[in-house]
Symmetry: C2
């Protein structure tokens, strides 16, 4: 963890280094991934079975999980977890339903009829990781926006090492309205979703987090299908004054640090005394965590505490860092919030720990990382909709605006463009 103070002589140098900190491991797996994709494209199911057998030690007769299997496993999810998932789904759905946009359509003064219609994608794939990162909450956050957008086929893939699967993941899939589930993972799952196999019909877009192979496979199939953003390690920035309980803030900082040794937690405060208290609390809380080793690695290597003269000074720092999550643990958090232009999601006030948003606040927890909040947004209903625009001229309308199009076509040296308009003006 590094401690910075805006009054330090070398603050701007140190802050710039923090902004440019590349936290992702960069192992080049592109060759391996390219081979797997090509193999699945050619050999289909046989290739997917081979890789699943080799990497996951799982040898199913059918890649697709049966309704019976899903129902039986989902029933094994503890009742309180199922109830919590149901509450989460209800809240997430309520927020995402409000995103459903309105079509545009009007006739302008010239008599041209024009507009824009929102249309749901017809089939999407949702990748769910296996092992430690097999989170039921991610199933809800990826599948519900698709469902609400009106996607017909919501196809989930989840690796099943040695045939094992988290019942809560299947419970979440049932709650979220996933329509098909395949027990496969890795680059082979991405290939099957993008190209299709004998048993898996291809989809048009693939979303969801995964390891380096999955991320690279998504990058390589982009164009054949759409993808969401490539998720980097998680980030939290907490702005806190000295009226906070330092232990609360310590838990918040560690809630992201525990995800990944490459995760980053940053505290900005206007009190040097509070900074020291929070740092001491982090050390104490770390000792209580089953995830201590991961959280410690993240906090020691990437954690930072920045002391500012007053909280307004934090605004340009925040907009440069463009963090995934921001907590504003201050009075009147809306004032500061209105100045923040680069962030994934905001958590306002002293009673909104970021983890509430991870599970059931309502907004999506799939958010831009690695400073991409400068140009990108969290997952939403919009990611599962397309826009189709339309234009309709009648003869009178074309007479009024057609000549200008002919002029521009001629200026651009495109005679057939001009001719297609001119012949309708003339005839």
């Amino acid at each position: 963890m590094q401690l910075l103070q805006t009054t330090d002589k070398d603050f701007s140098t140190k802050f710039k280094a923090l902004v440019n900190d590349r936290r992702e491991a960069t192992v080049d797996v592109s060759g391996t991934v390219r081979e797997i994709l090509a193999d699945v494209k050619v050999r289909g199911d046989a290739a997917v079975h081979d890789y699943t057998s080799r990497f996951d030690h799982y040898h199913p007769e059918s890649l697709r999980l049966s309704e019976t299997f899903i129902a039986e496993l989902a029933a094994k999810c503890p009742k309180d977890v199922t109830a919590a998932l149901e509450l989460a789904a209800e809240r997430i759905a309520a927020f995402h339903e409000k995103q459903l946009p309105q079509d545009i359509g009007y006739t302008d003064t010239v008599g041209v009829r024009l507009g824009l219609n929102w249309v749901a994608l017809s089939k999407v794939g949702i990748y769910v990781p296996g092992g430690r990162a097999s989170y039921p909450s991610s199933v809800l956050m990826n599948a519900l926006p698709a469902k609400i957008a009106g996607v017909d086929r919501i196809v989930m893939t989840v690796p099943m090492p040695r045939g094992e699967i988290n019942p809560a993941v299947l419970a979440a899939a049932k709650i979220a309205g996933v329509t098909e589930i395949y027990g496969i993972g890795g680059a082979q799952a991405i290939a099957a979703l993008a190209y299709g196999t004998e048993t898996i019909a291809p989809v048009d877009k693939i979303v969801g987090p995964g390891n380096a192979y999955v991320a690279e496979a998504k990058r390589q199939v982009f164009g054949t299908v759409g993808i969401d953003s490539i998720a980097g390690p998680s980030e939290i920035l907490v702005v806190a004054d000295d009226k906070n309980n330092p232990e609360w803030i310590a838990w918040d900082l560690l809630s992201q640090a525990e995800h990944d040794p490459s995760a980053q937690s940053i505290l900005i405060t206007d009190s040097a005394e509070f900074a020291q208290k929070a740092i001491a609390s982090v050390e104490q809380v770390l000792n209580k965590l089953a995830t201590k080793s991961v959280a410690t690695a993240s906090w020691e290597k990437h954690g930072a505490v920045i002391i500012v003269n007053d909280l307004a000074e934090s605004i340009p720092l925040i907009n440069q860092l463009a963090p995934e999550h921001i907590e504003l643990c201050i009075d009147n958090p809306q004032l500061l919030a209105s100045e923040i232009k680069c962030a994934g999601s905001l958590f306002l006030g002293r009673y909104t720990p970021e983890a509430i948003g991870d599970y059931l606040g309502g907004p999506n927890h799939v958010l831009p990382t690695s400073r991409s909040a400068r140009f990108a947004s969290g997952l939403s209903v919009y990611d599962f909709l397309k826009r189709i625009t339309y234009l309709e001229c009648n003869q009178q309308a074309l007479q009024q605006i057609g000549q200008a199009a002919v002029t521009l076509a001629e200026a651009e040296g495109l005679p057939a463009h001009g001719g297609s308009v001119a012949i309708r003006l003339r005839d």
Copy 2:
């Protein structure tokens, strides 16, 4: 050009081949591009000057065009072209202003305040090609949505071979509200926009079409900045009955064919007789075109005419082809239009040649190609906006939903997530 009929025995095989036709040249320029990007990242302006000198034979003192230079050149744009650009800008702006979305914000029944705010990107780069494809209309279509979204810095790059530039491109830039123009192109321009140099401050997103080097450079800087889609060769699909003038339809088909030998024009009709007339008209119109060689290459290699039994039969064909542009030259085009789920933009009726939309219909002419209309949309105001979500719980609200979050955090094995909520429920 190939002629298909849905009653042909081998129709489905032939149609599948048409759908999977890969029309793009695949030259691997990734190594060269990687070197140029790395060089500009390290050497900044000096590297950009070197490449500009070598590739464009242009050796300016300053890369940035002065206001005086821009004003003088723009004044050389022919008056009728400037007037047409102004009409186009007005119509494009009017349509894109209607896209400006509403923020979402509400307090739910539990007392949680939550919402979503749309925020403009602060700085974007617009790449404009030089030479034959240096189109003023593309400047309007890329810059105006950014301007309307509220982007502060709109930075344009355009190569100036031997110092030459199309006055209409500068006139369009002035009309569209571009804030800075640099006379550079190629991968070096993309690098300068993404990484910044001594004279060019970096941007957050880069849009606009370019050659293979530009497309590859955009692919490689993706993540450092946002990009729009990678544009492929243009496409038009015309649905026409026998009540059309075949010559009108021939002009329409050739209006996209003249762009690029890899462009594709497809006619779907329910009349074999009309198909023959349209094909004959295409041959006649081709002979009138200054762009004959390009248009002929496209039509011969990639053109297709499909005869259907009735026009309803065209719907599944259209949705599989997912073309960039569709003209419905039929009566009551809205009926068929409502069934089309995969397309970039629709042109309805007999008096709406696609070229009207290229210049001044209102909707954007930057549209998804290569079947990506299955999952992607045309350029819009949304591409220059981000969404920031927010959540605010008070103590009472957290008491009501907090325990469910703790339950889910425990189920996912994330104790600091659970702890950050639990400590606020307890204290």
